[in-house]
């Protein structure tokens, strides 16, 4: 049995763009899903989400049972009269389902240069362990 591989499968988080139907879903409004990368390290998963223009005051990351939601609200103020526009400041929202392999109490979130970095460490039991063989 390949413990490492199994850990990778059950640790997969499944992105969905639909805000979950719960009382504490995001406030009414329109949202765009941020571009997200998810990769695996030996100790856990790392999620990176592009949220340019979002400062920590406008960021809301929460975990409810198996759902991780990220909400980013950038400042919508224009620095002057618009003359040419290719991008618009919009609220970002995305939800993910966590597998059992993640240790919920150790999830951390950082914001740097408009990128949200969420680290999801694997629970100790999920890491590959060497099993001592008892000999006769």
């Amino acid at each position: 049995m390949d413990l490492g591989r199994q850990g990778a499968e059950t640790g997969r988080i499944h992105p969905s763009n639909r805000p979950p139907e719960r009382a504490d879903g995001p406030p009414a409004g329109s949202y765009v899903p941020p571009a997200v990368d998810i990769y695996e390290e030996p100790d856990g998963l790392v999620l990176l989400a592009d949220m340019p223009g979002v400062a920590s005051a406008g960021l809301d990351v929460r975990l409810d049972r198996d759902t991780l939601t990220i909400l980013g609200q950038p400042s919508k103020d224009d620095p002057g009269e618009p003359r040419h526009r290719e991008w618009k400041a919009e609220d970002y929202y995305r939800a993910f389902t966590l597998g059992d392999v993640i240790d919920r109490s150790k999830i951390t979130a950082d914001l740097k240069d408009g990128v949200l970095i969420v680290r999801l460490p694997k629970a100790a039991e999920a890491k590959p362990r060497k099993i001592q063989v008892r000999s006769e």
């Binding site: 997200v36 790392v46 592009d50 224009d78 620095p79 002057g80 290719e86 240069d113």
Partner: protein, 141 residues
């Protein structure tokens, strides 16, 4: 219509540049087209402001240069050092980017400043002093 109101001659260049940048703009080895990073232009009093979305790009990886009437923003977004097979999902793009904007003749190139905050680059430049109209006396005779 508002283009005529403000007497700009950079707007047609920008539209042309946008079209040309669709062909030459590159961001990420796999992506061959697209204008990146997206750019907005604002006017406020005696200055113009350009804002660009560059999440995850450090200050040292952005280069701003001005030649004659062109402002160029060039840089690179570097990916984390992770093997391809470790990715469960990959949507963010990386690589070299470059955008050029033709400045209107009413801009002083020496007064350009730039700030990077929360992944948004803001480039400010003051407008040049307007040429004072001269009064010409015409002799009628």
């Amino acid at each position: 219509m508002w283009r005529q109101q403000f007497g700009w001659d950079w707007l047609p260049d920008l539209a042309d540049l946008t079209r040309r940048l669709v062909d030459s703009g590159r961001f990420g080895a796999a992506e061959g087209t697209g204008t990146f990073p997206p750019l907005n232009i604002f006017e406020k009093g005696d200055r113009f402001l350009l804002t660009l979305e560059v999440p995850g790009v450090s200050l040292e990886d952005i280069d701003l240069s001005v030649t004659a009437d062109t402002l160029t923003i060039e840089g690179e977004r570097k990916p984390p050092e992770v093997d391809e097979e470790c990715y469960h999902r990959r949507e963010r793009r990386f690589g070299h980017f470059k955008r050029s904007v033709t400045l209107p003749d009413r801009v002083r190139p020496d007064g350009i400043t730039a700030t990077l905050k929360a992944g948004v680059l803001t480039v400010e430049f003051p407008k040049a002093e307007p040429v004072k109209p001269q009064q010409i006396r015409v002799a009628i005779g």
